[in-house]
């Protein structure tokens, strides 16, 4: 069972300096919440064989994050890059990704991160699944193939419970394979070692820059008109974007050491940090 997996990723801004442009190669990197999706895809391919295609929408400088995914082991990468896409909201992003995924059919699964570290909406995964009219399970940490019954067995944790889902991998009416979308939790793998085990090797970086090229697609490739994308077409618009002011407060606890410890424990408990 060879798997054709697509991972939708985003290059995010990791460190914005007041004087710099918003997006440059200096300050972009792969969204850390997308890393588990790539890692899950690679582990599935290791087990079942197949290919991983990385799909992203973003500016030219987004190549940084895409090259990182190739260095991690992706086989193919597509970056949808068009000036007319600028300031698209999550709905338009999902629409564009949906068009691109149609073009990349057939695929077995499409994986997303749970959210992005810069805009933090978590919309794009489920909305894209909706555009394609395929099932979606969010925040999964385990995905296994039940090859006999032709279904996926996925697990997710929610509010102290472990949920197990079955998702059909075959459309029984049309008797053909159907696609499913998932978003992958940061707890994929061993959460204690997450991020520690899968470093990008120099061999991977070489591979990303010698053997594999990023394919650039634009609105025309996807049959989209400029007015169908970008800020102009987006149903939601950002009207204000201000840096949050953070204030630190310091509280002193009086009493003997025992009383102080008691009070501190009580305060931590009330704040939900312990217990």
């Amino acid at each position: 069972m060879e798997l054709n997996i697509i991972a939708c990723v985003k290059s995010v801004i990791n460190n914005m300096l007041p004087s710099s442009n918003r997006n440059t190669l200096e300050n972009m990197e792969l969204n850390p919440f997308d890393k588990p999706a790539i890692e899950m895809a690679l582990s599935l391919i290791k087990k079942h064989k197949g290919t991983l295609t990385v799909l992203s929408m973003g500016p030219k400088s987004a190549t940084f994050g895409i090259h990182q995914t190739i260095a991690m082991g992706a086989d193919r990468a597509v970056l949808i890059c068009d000036p007319a896409l600028k300031e698209s909201d999550t709905y338009i992003t999902a629409k564009v990704l949906g068009k691109a995924l149609k073009k990349l059919e057939p695929f077995d699964i499409v994986l997303f991160g749970t959210r992005s570290s810069d805009s933090d909406t978590g919309h794009v995964g489920p909305q894209t699944a909706q555009m394609l009219d395929i099932p979606f399970v969010g925040n999964i940490h385990s995905l296994k193939a039940d090859q006999i019954k032709n279904r996926w067995i996925v697990e997710r944790k929610t509010d102290g419970y472990l949920e197990v889902f079955e998702v059909d991998a075959k459309n029984s009416k049309e008797q053909k394979n159907s696609s499913t979308a998932f978003s992958v939790s940061s707890s994929f793998g061993d959460s204690n070692t997450f991020g520690r085990t899968n470093f990008i090797s120099l061999y991977g970086v070489e591979r990303a820059f010698s053997d594999k090229n990023i394919e650039f697609w634009d609105n025309q490739t996807l049959g989209l008109k400029p007015e169908e994308t970008g800020l102009i077409a987006s149903p939601t618009k950002i009207v204000a974007w201000n840096k949050e002011k953070r204030s630190k407060g310091c509280q002193f606890i009086d009493g003997t050491y025992d009383q102080k410890a008691e009070q501190l424990a009580q305060k931590l408990l009330e704040a939900g940090f312990v217990g």
Partner: protein, 403 residues
């Protein structure tokens, strides 16, 4: 700062920094204090390609350029200069001379194990009586034919020579006493500078590749150094050690040429290492200056501290630019000897000054092992001494400018 760097270089930096932060920084203090070589981390470095940075892909290396090499050494050294030293020496003065001067069979025999980190490499030039004056080495390698005339006193050793000595083969009997061998305690492949013709002066010096385990090959005591304490810098002795003539690098008498070429490349690595130490010192200095309150304000508000931070930052950037220039020239195939010497001089002097200022910013705490600047301060000092002292570098630079 990064105007010369390609996207690929930036991804290299991002990846190595990620590794160094998560795997090296947490153990840097402990391996320094315990004088421990962290094999568990070095094995990971090997798997990521850090021990074969510029070796060709077909020989197991990553096949990267010199600029990437400087970035990697800088980032590792910023976390632990001892490990940066291990990687720098291994890549630049152990692997590089075999790639540049070795024949096809030597490259195939030695490079894949080194480039993939199965074996660690070392470079043995310095002797008790030969430091800056490398041509004063006393180690000898006398060529013999494998006849009855030489009575091999080690032939019954359980750990005797791995190679088959054919009746008509030629071999060398090597006697050497080498000191301050970086990686000495863990290396398995050693480049040994010897006199093959004791009467020929500097032209009688050659390089022989020796392997640990050969009869008569002795790893001596580990040096108890001020800095670089996680690196097992040791003495190495070869006593009537029989080494096959096929282990001679290039030709007899080319030792000094090989040494100078290796050190030209090595200097770029040591300069990058010094930039890493300096950058680490700068970052720690800034962090502490913002945290430490004196006279009711963070000390970063005091102009005297600001002046120090400004000088530190400016000097680190200057040194880094010079290292990049030397590396770029090498990648372009242009002469880089003078530029590498200047970069090494500048970067090592900068590391010492910047680490010193970082200690000053920390005050009494900077003199304690509680903060990393104390380690940077000790580690920085040696960069002005090894792979050519600052004085030798000034000599090399002056000679070039005055010629």
């Amino acid at each position: 700062m990064d105007i010369f760097l390609t996207e690929k270089h930036k991804i290299v930096r991002h990846s190595v920094r990620d590794f160094a932060q998560k795997e090296i920084v947490p153990i840097a203090k402990e391996i320094d204090e315990e004088q421990r070589f962290p094999w568990e981390v070095v094995d990971k470095m090997a798997a990521l390609g850090y021990l074969g940075i510029q070796a060709p892909k077909e020989l197991g290396g990553a096949g990267m350029d010199t600029v990437s090499y400087t970035i990697i050494i800088e980032e590792i050294s910023k976390a632990s200069a001892s490990l940066g030293l291990c990687a720098s020496v291994h890549n630049s003065v152990a692997i590089y001379p075999i790639l540049a001067f070795g024949n096809k069979s030597q490259k195939e025999r030695f490079v894949p194990d080194l480039a993939t980190g199965k074996k660690i490499g070392a470079f043995c030039l310095t002797e008790p009586n030969a430091g800056s004056d490398a041509s004063a080495i006393e180690a000898t390698a006398i060529k013999y034919e494998n006849t009855q005339s030489f009575n091999n006193s080690h032939q019954n050793d359980s750990n005797s020579d791995k190679q088959d000595f054919d009746k008509h083969d030629e071999y060398y009997i090597v006697n050497a006493n080498k000191v301050f061998v970086t990686n000495g305690g863990v290396a398995e492949t050693f480049l040994i500078f010897v006199r093959t013709n004791p009467s020929a002066g500097p032209k009688g010096i050659s390089v022989i590749i020796a392997e640990k385990g050969s009869a008569g090959f002795i790893v001596g005591e580990r040096e108890n150094l001020s800095g670089m304490r996680a690196n097992p810098v040791s003495s190495i002795r070869l006593s009537d050690c029989k080494i096959h003539a096929s282990n001679l690098l290039a030709k007899e008498g080319q030792g000094l040429k090989i040494g100078l070429a290796a050190l030209d490349t090595g200097r770029i690595g040591i300069a990058a290492q010094a930039v890493g130490i300096a950058q680490g010192s700068l970052e720690e200095g800034i962090k502490y200056a913002k945290e430490r309150i004196q006279f009711n304000v963070p000390i970063s508000k005091h102009q005297s501290i600001q002046n120090m931070i400004a000088d530190m930052g400016t000097q680190v950037e200057s040194a880094r630019l010079m290292v990049y220039r030397a590396a770029l020239l090498k990648d372009m195939g242009k002469p880089f000897s003078k530029e590498a010497a200047m970069a090494k001089l500048m970067a090592s002097e900068t590391a010492s000054r910047v680490a010193d200022m970082a200690v000053q910013i920390h005050g009494g705490y900077g003199y304690s092992k509680s903060y990393p600047v104390e380690r940077y301060y000790r580690d920085a000092r040696i960069t002005r001494i090894y792979e050519g002292t600052s004085e030798v570098h000034r000599m090399v630079i002056a000679r070039s400018l005055l010629s």
